[in-house]
């Protein structure tokens, strides 16, 4: 019967050594298989990189346990993170459950003041430079931050900040209070037992997802092979599509893990369709809160419809106009250009759009990729 492999991670600082030893012995006595540097990991031959070997061991474990004290451990200036932090990232990246404890006083100070100071500093930096500050700059700031106790290595605050950003709960570590491992493992067992009986449903859902993907692929392969009659009402056709385009938050990603909500857009409230005919783009139909312009010249550079048409037969793009406080998503397919109108939330301005253009683009297109593909194929297949 397989044993649960538990990787015990922390800086090997004096204050944490007794805790690490106790944890190792207790986990072993409970029938688990703890993995810890000074007990059963390494030393390895000199030609092997000990950090890589540790990360390998993290990847082979079932549970990752982290103790955080006042020391940060070895910092790698090239990657901008410590070895302990890279073990945490590796565990989470591989979908390994993590249990984290931090010195109770350090944790209290972090949540009471340091976290807010870091939030404010990061907000200011993003506002001033348009970029999330790297760890080197954050560490420089923490060295000057009065609330960040001098006896705590600055990187410890960054590690706690990262845990907070990822939504990982951090337990209190107090020297006089032993860790009740039995309770933690009982809780993990309870959570696992809730999920294990769902195996047939989860497997069934994954199969359905694959089948849905195959059906979509078949449809996208067949549609270009047929010619379609235009619908009786293009306005109804546009309405059918636009009522499925929901409003959403716009999230901006800083690296792989940190994400910030930078605004939102509302559900599509109008759509229009134009067609290349007689050397111009002629109005076909519209629905919702849009107004019709009879036609646009192909070289009209003030029109998002003409601009999209000029970008190629399968062009698409998101446009923003502060005066109308709207995003316009345009998609061209053959002679047609369809445009979907999304009211922009109040936070948007020209400058904000310029800063977060990629995030706006992904927020509007990302949730609707399959629908957009179908719209494009249907329009492209219409009989001329």
């Amino acid at each position: 019967m397989g044993k649960t492999k538990v990787f015990i991670s922390s800086v090997n600082e004096d204050g944490l050594k007794p805790l690490r030893r106790t944890a190792f012995r207790e986990l072993e006595s409970l029938g688990h298989e703890p993995l810890m540097w000074e007990e059963n990991l390494g030393p390895w031959p000199s030609y092997l990189n000990p950090v890589e070997k540790c990360l390998e061991a993290v990847g082979e474990s079932d549970l990752y346990v982290l103790f955080i004290g006042t020391k940060a451990g070895t910092y790698d200036p090239v990657s901008g993170i410590t070895v302990t932090h890279s073990e945490l990232i590796s565990a989470l990246d591989k979908g390994i459950a993590a249990l984290v404890w931090a010195d109770a006083q350090v944790k209290a100070r972090f949540f009471a003041t340091v976290a807010h100071r870091l939030d404010a500093y990061i907000d200011r930096s993003v506002e001033e430079t348009g970029q999330y500050p790297d760890n080197g700059r954050l560490l420089d700031y923490l060295r000057t931050c009065e609330e960040a106790d001098a006896h705590v290595d600055p990187y410890v605050w960054l590690l706690l900040y990262d845990l907070r950003q990822r939504g990982i709960y951090v337990e209190d570590l107090a020297s006089a209070v032993p860790i009740d491992w039995k309770s933690y493992f009982s809780d993990l067992l309870r959570r696992g037992l809730l999920l294990l009986p769902l195996e047939p449903s989860i497997m069934d859902n994954s199969l359905r997802l694959e089948q849905a993907g195959q059906s979509f692929d078949l449809m996208t392969a067949l549609l270009p092979q047929v010619r379609l009659e235009p619908p009786g009402s293009w306005a109804d056709w546009l309405g059918t599509v636009s009522q499925r385009l929901q409003g959403r938050q716009v999230k901006h990603a800083y690296g792989s893990w940190s994400r910030e909500t930078v605004g939102h857009y509302e559900a599509c409230n109008g759509a229009s369709l134009y067609r290349h005919e007689g050397g111009e783009l002629r109005f076909v139909a519209c629905c919702g809160q849009t107004s019709a312009v009879r036609a646009f010249a192909l070289d009209d550079q003030s029109s998002y419809i003409a601009l999209t048409y000029g970008m190629g037969s399968r062009a698409e793009g998101v446009y923003y106009k502060e005066a109308r406080q709207k995003f316009f998503y345009c998609v061209r397919s053959g002679p047609y250009v369809a445009t979907f109108h999304f009211p922009a939330g109040p936070s948007w301005s020209n400058l904000r759009y310029m800063r977060y253009k990629d995030s706006v683009n992904n927020a509007i297109i990302g949730p609707n990729t399959q629908m957009i593909r179908l719209v494009s194929l249907f329009l492209g297949g219409m009989r001329q």
């Binding site: 793009g317 253009k357 399959q370």
Partner: protein, 62 residues
């Protein structure tokens, strides 16, 4: 490809630089297309399915 913001004002398109008038039309090039994002989503979904299946196989193995 790095994305770039363009502005359409007074009937002409140019690269957007600095403060733009409120009635300007802004757009970006070099951003991900629906096909790029669809491909990324399909790859992520396939990876998720593989991970879930391998974890369930491991979890239910006796």
């Amino acid at each position: 490809m790095k994305s770039c913001v363009w502005v359409s004002k007074n009937g002409r398109v140019s690269e957007a630089d600095g403060i733009q008038p409120r009635d300007a039309l802004l757009f970006a090039t070099g951003t991900a297309t629906s096909e790029d994002l669809l491909l990324q989503q399909r790859i992520a979904a396939e990876q998720n399915i593989r991970l879930i299946r391998s974890r369930l196989a491991e979890a239910t193995r006796r």
